[in-house]
Symmetry: C2
Subunit: 353 residues, 2 copies
């Protein structure tokens, strides 16, 4: 993902507010984006998610995907219906919409920065200074939808899930992670996997990691099993700078990272196509939280920070930094014990810009 010069025309944005708290946090993200961006965005809203699926049976029509593909970037709120809704089997929306976008638009770098901002509270007693970024592979691993089931519903049922890993897919994300590590002051990169059990995939990841490391003598590298990473992340999270890992391990470790840096309400992410052959997509790490939807209770900070990643990706690094600073200032000013509505938080951050 080489730093980009902004294009000259009006950039176009596909907005997918989604389900649950998605629309609420997206509204605040757009509010902040409008104030922060040096240019106007032409935003088109796409109603996709549980509501549309339950009403029409449509998840992501090919024609809609084709339209979305023509935009410069995508902003997504959150996707997912009520838990245990019998009309909405698990995976329909996740696999059919969210993951389909990530796969079709080749979002092979799932970028998830974790920072313990001053003023935000960690559940850890002594977190130290935490500022790392997870480069999660986004188009392979156990997320490919390979596998199947046999004799479903009988005592002889067999269900498989296949993690698919290719040299092509691993090398490009590992290269991206090294490039990011190189641009950071500490220049440290940790590979997280489970090479001692998942020996086929592990060996591939390890060999590619080692060979790309040889081209980057300035980057300090180490390796950690995913289980050991749980311990380091809770006991000494400040040891991490950049982490590169597979799709599933990245999913797990970034929720832990969000938890220890003050919660999922602050964790932003970019589903990045570094080759820019299709638009990248920016979204908070949190889900649709249907239990608090429509109540103005959700924290829009993660969605707002996702617009900073979006601005940066489109070449507006200065604007991105301003959004981050505004969020930082807002966090530092949050009075413990008081609660603000979703839009009050958005207003407060926009007002600082």
């Amino acid at each position: 993902d080489t730093p980009q010069t902004p294009s000259s025309g009006t950039p176009t944005l596909a907005v997918i507010p989604g389900d649950g708290i998605g629309p609420e946090v997206t509204a605040e993200a757009l509010k902040v984006l409008e104030v922060a961006a040096p240019t106007k965005f032409e935003a088109t809203r796409y109603d996709l998610g549980a509501e549309r699926y339950l009403a029409t049976g449509e998840v992501l029509p090919d024609s809609v995907l084709a339209e979305i593909r023509e935009h410069d970037a995508i902003l997504l709120g959150a996707v997912g219906g009520k838990p245990n809704d019998p009309n909405l089997p698990p995976g329909i929306l996740e696999r059919g919409l969210l993951l389909r976008l990530r796969f079709e638009l080749d979002h092979y770098v799932n970028l998830r920065p974790s920072r313990l901002f001053p003023g935000s509270e960690s559940p850890l007693a002594a977190p130290g200074e935490v500022d790392f970024v997870v480069v999660r592979e986004g188009t392979e691993g156990p997320y490919t939808g390979n596998g199947g089931a046999l004799r479903v519903g009988t005592p002889a049922e067999v269900a498989t899930e296949v993690s698919v890993n290719t040299a092509y897919g691993v090398e490009r994300v590992v290269r991206d992670a090294f490039a990011r590590a190189e641009r950071r002051p500490r220049k440290q990169l940790t590979l997280v996997h489970k090479t001692n059990v998942l020996v086929n995939a592990g060996s591939l990841w390890w060999r590619i990691f080692e060979s790309v490391a040889a081209e980057h003598p300035d980057v300090t590298t180490d390796y950690m099993h995913i289980d050991a990473a749980m311990i380091h992340m809770t006991v000494n999270p400040s040891r991490f700078d950049v982490i590169v890992t597979d799709n599933l391990f990245g999913d797990i470790i970034t929720d832990l990272a969000a938890a220890i840096t003050g919660g999922i309400g602050l964790a932003a992410s970019g589903n990045v196509n570094p080759d820019r052959t299709a638009p990248s997509m920016f979204e908070p790490v949190h889900g649709s939280a249907p239990d608090i939807a429509g109540q103005q209770k959700a924290d829009p900070t993660a969605a707002i920070l996702s617009t900073a990643l979006l601005l940066d990706h489109l070449g507006h690094g200065d604007a991105a930094a301003r959004v981050e600073e505004a969020v930082l200032a807002d966090l530092a000013a949050r009075a413990p014990g008081t609660t603000r509505s979703t839009s009050e938080v958005g207003d407060a951050i926009a007002a600082r810009l």
Copy 2:
């Protein structure tokens, strides 16, 4: 795993001290077992692990497995060589020895209790009372060794890992977890999986969990995605009572559980064959920690607590409780800032019995 009446003869114990700190912690576990057990054990030592493999190329000869199989129980220290030893590719020992034992002896319940003992320190600022047990499936999932690699070492390499899940395998471990939940005061059981992405395996786990739940109306159940479980485990670990999950998720979550309850030096585990068709195996959750091996620096508490699980499994519930109490008393008496050698900790716990 129905409570057992102890057999009348001298029980036999296969001891596999293993590598790194394995022999040191195992020595203390045996010291405590000797004092605590109401009966003498006939222990036979099996030298298996990195040293034997590097010297002879042998990991677990069939004849040794056959001998081990004839014992009443197995006590294992830790297995694993120096990181990045070119003569010891990752997985050789883990897959060939540790996992082979778990699979051949049908250890389908990998039992991992997590308790925050008074006096032991959690990295969490406000952990609350933590006392839960993870029932990790031990013979299926991504640990089966299914999968393979194609065009290894070329840019066209493809590597796969197949998670295999059967109704047979899922049902027996889910039943065991419900039975355990039923014997505990809170009677709560949480299924952890990733049903929204791993839809084949997830659906199988979910359907079996729901159908067994219908037979246990006294057990309160809930479901959590593995990523969400990371958050609950760090933000509110006291909400958990019993967790049932697959082999890989169980590996990951139990290291996190160990971390938040005072560290991997305290986490014990049982690889249990509840049908008693083969001996169960008890081991600390921690690894062989080659960096501190032979220095009497390792904490043997996890190995000692593993003997409590062993005693309980063999029908010596009272002796198991005494070991736990001795460990509890020792932990409460640990003076912060002082360090004791591995054998000093073992001596202190044995002296309390």
